[in-house]
Symmetry: C2
């Protein structure tokens, strides 16, 4: 019998836990779900005979040691900044660990320790990062193996509301961590285009979108992700002339969002004076000039040209940014105030479903011809629990855990799913859950 420990029973753990419980009998697994709240853990286990729920607190050193020691593998669904604490303990106890989060510098620092312990710390096994790596490497290796030269790789992912529930002027709702959405792109975004490095400062990022039609889902727009360059090394594409990664939104989102960026509403480094007692109208006015005889609406349109556009202005107005309604947040940063408003307006209704969209675009030549492959995927959530996000984050992680426990993964150290023996079986099994890529090939020029 193998014992699996899942740490954290929050959002996006539903499909992960369900998969492992469903496969527990066949593989003789025992599954423990640990969470700060035993109740939350218990709800996820839902009385399954192969499951158990318990309190787990990574800050309780002795108890976390004992718990990890009692299991064969650990899946950390804790907040990302806690993973390295878990990983460190796992390595001391020679237990493999898996997560859906980025291999941060703190995690990478454990590489040597993991190698010495002969143990894998498997990172980036979710959607993005995760399925993006697996599906990209699958195509990259195929294109290379066929003797082609890759010249360009663009890759986009987005978490959106599914089309039939898409009923607000932003064509967007929060299907994932709202804070990450408000802070998205903060910093510089870097990519390379035909050998030319390109740098977009944050305040211009939402000006510079790409447009795409994806599958049969209609029109989308894409803004650049922060660092596209580092993926050249991960994907073994060091000399590729063009490389770009981006985030998918519906058309018009970025032009309106840019008004907030330009105003300074997404800044998070200082707090607004007396934010608790101000109204949203006063909040917006705090970024505009002092002209007491000009309405806030007009000042905003004069200050940010985008807001002159009626389509943009309607989006802003719909959010209630001109309302004399109190913010009611103490010592809040501009970003925190904006987030509070958006959480009300961009909330998923109980019957709403989310949607994940991903598209890879490869250009390559075979010596005589320039070709292009477009590979796209879309997944819709089933309900508020089995969201597309929970499915696409949880399933690859669960399948990787199965591969590990059945001896299919030999790697040690900090491991990303960029190796054929990892991504091939995961992608194959994901297809059985309807998570598959539609691929089209074009001749260029």
């Amino acid at each position: 019998m193998k014992k699996i420990l899942i740490l954290g029973a929050g959002l996006s753990t539903g499909n992960l836990i369900e998969y492992l419980l469903n496969n527990a009998e066949e593989h003789d697994w025992q599954i423990t779900v640990g969470d700060i709240s035993e109740e939350v853990a218990r709800a996820k286990v839902n009385g399954h005979p192969r499951g158990a729920a318990r309190v787990f607190d990574i800050n309780d050193d002795m108890e976390s040691w004992r718990t990890i020691a009692d299991h064969d593998v650990v899946i950390s669904m804790l907040p990302a900044k806690m993973h390295h604490l878990v990983a460190d303990k796992c390595l001391d106890l020679r237990k493999p660990m898996l997560t859906a989060s980025y291999a941060t510098e703190e995690i990478k620092a454990l590489e040597e320790k993991a190698k010495k312990a002969n143990i894998p710390i498997m990172m980036e096994l979710g959607l993005d990062p995760g399925i993006d790596h697996m599906s990209a490497m699958n195509l990259i290796n195929r294109i290379k193996e066929e003797g082609n030269q890759l010249t360009s790789f663009y890759s986009f992912t987005g978490g959106l509301v599914a089309p039939e529930y898409d009923n607000n002027p932003w064509n967007y709702k929060f299907t994932w961590n709202p804070r990450n959405v408000v802070m998205a792109g903060n910093g510089v975004s870097t990519f390379i285009n035909n050998g030319k490095y390109k740098y977009i400062p944050y305040h211009r990022l939402f000006d510079r979108t790409l447009k795409r039609k994806i599958l049969q889902l209609g029109d989308f727009e894409i803004y650049a992700n922060r660092d596209s360059l580092k993926y050249r090394e991960i994907y073994d594409l060091q000399n590729i002339p063009s490389m770009y990664r981006g985030t998918i939104r519906r058309p018009g989102f970025s032009k309106a969002w840019n008004v907030f960026v330009r105003l300074g509403c997404t800044e998070d480094g200082y707090t607004i004076e007396d934010s608790e007692n101000m109204t949203y109208r006063e909040y917006i006015n705090a970024f505009l000039k002092y002209e007491p005889n000009v309405p806030v609406e007009i000042k905003l349109q004069e200050y940010c040209r985008n807001a002159e556009n009626p389509v943009v202005f309607e989006k802003l107005k719909w959010l209630g940014i001109f309302d004399n309604r109190k913010v009611g947040l103490k010592n809040a940063t501009p970003a925190q105030i904006l987030q509070k408003l958006l959480e009300e307006k961009w909330k998923m209704d109980p019957e709403d479903k989310d949607m994940i969209v991903m598209q890879h675009e490869f250009k390559y030549n075979n010596g005589t011809e320039e070709k292009m492959i477009v590979s796209a995927m879309a997944v819709e959530g089933k309900d508020q629990k089995e969201t597309a996000m929970s499915i696409t984050v949880g399933l690859p992680l669960a399948i990787a855990t199965k591969l590990l426990l059945t001896g299919k993964i030999k790697n040690t150290g900090i491991v990303l799913p960029i190796y054929k023996d990892i991504y091939e079986p995961i992608l194959a099994e994901l297809e059985t859950f309807g998570i598959s890529f539609e691929e089209k090939e074009y001749m260029l020029g």
Copy 2:
């Protein structure tokens, strides 16, 4: 006999050291100038019988202890981040310390220790911070003592090239730390206008200038300094409805500078790939879209509307940003590359003189009338050694040292020059050096 220790013999220490040496005989002072380079210290002492030069390294613990212990007062002209190390040693040895730098959080943390030691750590005794505080407090206290209610305080300072040497299209040369100029305003700028808090994000700062005529020196423009609000407490103006501090430039500077801010050229948080081998033209192109058939000049004008203006475009072109000349800086941030170019172009010629301009604007009412006082000062440098910056930073610091050594300063703890017994004698003596404010009173409305 009293022994004065001056730490650091770099830029802007000339007038400080000269004043103290000139007054040494009368007050029976012995002056030691300590610097990492004994040669630099020796050049400043210039063989004066009351002066001595020596090597001083704050990182050499034992030796700095011994040196400080052997003196009665310490003036730190070291880089600002080192002041707290000096102050800490001074307090252990119960020696007063003076600097022209900001009372940082690290310095403020020494308040209790300084109070207990019954010793003053005198900060912000230069120009800005320094003369700005003294001249402001002088007027604030006078206006209050006359029974008036202050309603508004705007204050501006600028270091510029003197008018007759002002011969480039930017009407600007580096008369002070170039890095501080390139990074100026990075972060949010905050002020209050008629009771309304206002926040300007960095990328909009140079859009929102004020215009002023100052003295007989013609037209200027002003952009907001980072945090104007904290001065309400320093100046005991907690409830003042309007408070704004700004930096003075010649008209047109900000509109052109804003092109660099909008491009991302002033960012300092990442390095540009292969910066060493790129040209300035490629550097600018790295912030613009990939459109190989459109010249960089046109792309820039399309991307930043300001650059369409021929007056702005001439400024940019004059800097050589479109030249195919190599940057030659390894692993450089955008800001470092821009700084390197500007250091060549905005360099003071050997015969050039600098100029300091400062203006305070107070509004107040006496119960029946609204009035305004405008108080302005300008100082021109004498030559490249006796710059306006060196004069206005060094003299108040030197005079404060004299006051301290002659028993005129009773304050202990972290002390700013906001007390009458400090600023009155300093301002009076500065007038004998030609540093004086011209004051005008107006009736408003």
